[in-house]
Amino acid sequence: MKSMRAMNVSQPRRIRIANGQGFWGDSVDAPVRLVEEGPLDYLTLDYLAEVTMSILQKQKRRDPARGYATDFVQLIDRILPSLRTKGIKVVANAGGVNPSACRQALVEVAEEHQARGLKIGTVTGDDILDRLEELIASGVGFENMDDGRPITDVLDRIVSANVYIDSFAIAEALARGADIVISGRTTDPGLVLSPLIAEYGWKQDQWSLLAAGTVGGHVVECGAQCTGGNFSRWWEVDGWDRLGYPVLEFAENGEFIVTKHDGTGGLVSVDTVSEQLLYEMGNPKAYLTPDCVVDFTSIQLAQDGKDRVRVSGIRGGEATGTFKVSIAYLEGYKATGQLTVSGPDAVAKAKVCADALWGRLERAGFTYEKTITELVGLDSCHGQIPGPPPDVHEVVLRVGVKDGDRAKVDRFGKELAPLVTSGPPGITGFAGGRPKATEVLGYWPSLIPKDRIVTHVDVEEVQ
């Protein structure tokens, strides 16, 4: 014990934060393993993408008790005893567009586990769907950030509208003792930044510290994408079946280590972390968040032992005066379908099929806003890369349409199956019924002055 104490004196305090969910649909076991397989102070879980918000909004319209990430409640049911024993806190944007329903479901799970005294924090205020008219009437323009169009172009078709709120509201919930915090639309890196604000008391104008927390969040926001997942030199990654999810060890001065738990698969190196730093990057000198502006050209990486990368030197600047708003609107309908075409002459026969399909639809009087014809196995991902075409034994013909008219899109779906008997020989793989029209959601990125958004923090104890 004496040596342990001595270590604690020489080693500065480090907060361990792991991300166990990169998106809704990521591994259901990863967060369980993070809790069980090594030390941890905070577990973050990112469930929300832009498309997720609109799906949740539609669920909530059908049933007022839905509209949140149900996977999250099932997960807490699995890990709650360990969270309590080990004192691990959880930060998740699982609230979606209905954080109060999510909290209610969570309370029921906590009561089943007799988790008396468990404190659940809820952060709201990001969902402005019901406030849009009021905000527009009071002068918020919601012009499209990309092309400047006025919001009136889509106002009657809006499905969801959420503000990316800053990290201080979640931090307040944690500071008030919450063991589990659920929010709606926060930034993904903010899930990591908020516990650091709560633990270290970082202030709203300590831009470089806020930037460091944001970079940490950016590195882990896609789960295993910094621990070997998606790595270019994939053959150097071991243990894909037990891939470790990322753990950050954060110091008060903003320096941190990216690592994973001992005994897990994967790889944490300067190269795997570099790749993730560049993921979904725009201008690296001005990475904008509601909390700060990060300069990614300031980041220094160094290997610090096996599966450990030290991150330092991060500089940040003053946050802008606006929040980003993500609005989704109904843009039309689409359907895609596919047939498998075997050789010989797979590519030539697939092209005959495609010409026949589009020709038949045109003769029947159907043309579309947008169509696609892909030969999966030949050119669907990389297009025509220079060089001789590969000799493929079979290809998948993938076709699709998009249009504002749902009936036309459904009609397209009826033209695929006939090709199996009325096209060239050796065509198969038509299964699962006719492709049906699904809704296409368009995104409307916009800005709103920060003073128009009020966040609410609520912390309640389970009885």
């Binding site: 892909e374 025509q384 995104y443």
Partner: protein, 128 residues
């Protein structure tokens, strides 16, 4: 001069960015970074992605990571769920970038990371 595939000099990652994608290209050493800074112009990248990229290609430098970040405009066939493409999020654009042929000086030797087990053009593992 001789040519080598980009994957002998660098590694990469890509993802979606609005109605386009981004590709981060990270050189394995300073010599390779200097070559790529010179050679990998937005124009050459746009040519390489002909049939995929229909908008502007913009380039940013991150010397601290020996990296170049490219924004490929209008490369997803529509943003959000409007795209009909298999790769609607540009997930494969990084790998496509690494297949680009790069002109290098005759005496250039690729760094170890680029040769230790490089991807052969047919996608199989080559090297040691």
């Amino acid at each position: 001069m001789k040519t080598l595939p980009l994957y002998a000099l660098a590694h990469a990652r890509s993802g979606d960015k609005g109605d386009g994608s981004n590709v981060g290209v990270i050189a394995y050493d300073q010599t390779s970074f200097a070559i790529l800074r010179e050679f990998l112009t937005p124009l050459k990248v746009k040519e390489h992605f002909s049939g995929i990229v229909f908008g502007e290609v913009r380039r940013f430098e991150l010397p601290n990571l020996m990296a170049l970040n490219f924004l490929l405009g209008e490369s997803l066939g529509g943003s959000g769920s409007a795209s009909l493409k298999t790769d609607a999020q540009g997930k494969t654009h990084g790998m496509a970038m690494l297949r680009m042929e790069i002109e290098v000086p005759d005496d250039y030797e690729p760094p170890e990371a680029g040769t230790a087990g490089s991807m052969a053009p047919d996608g199989e593992l080559g090297g040691a």
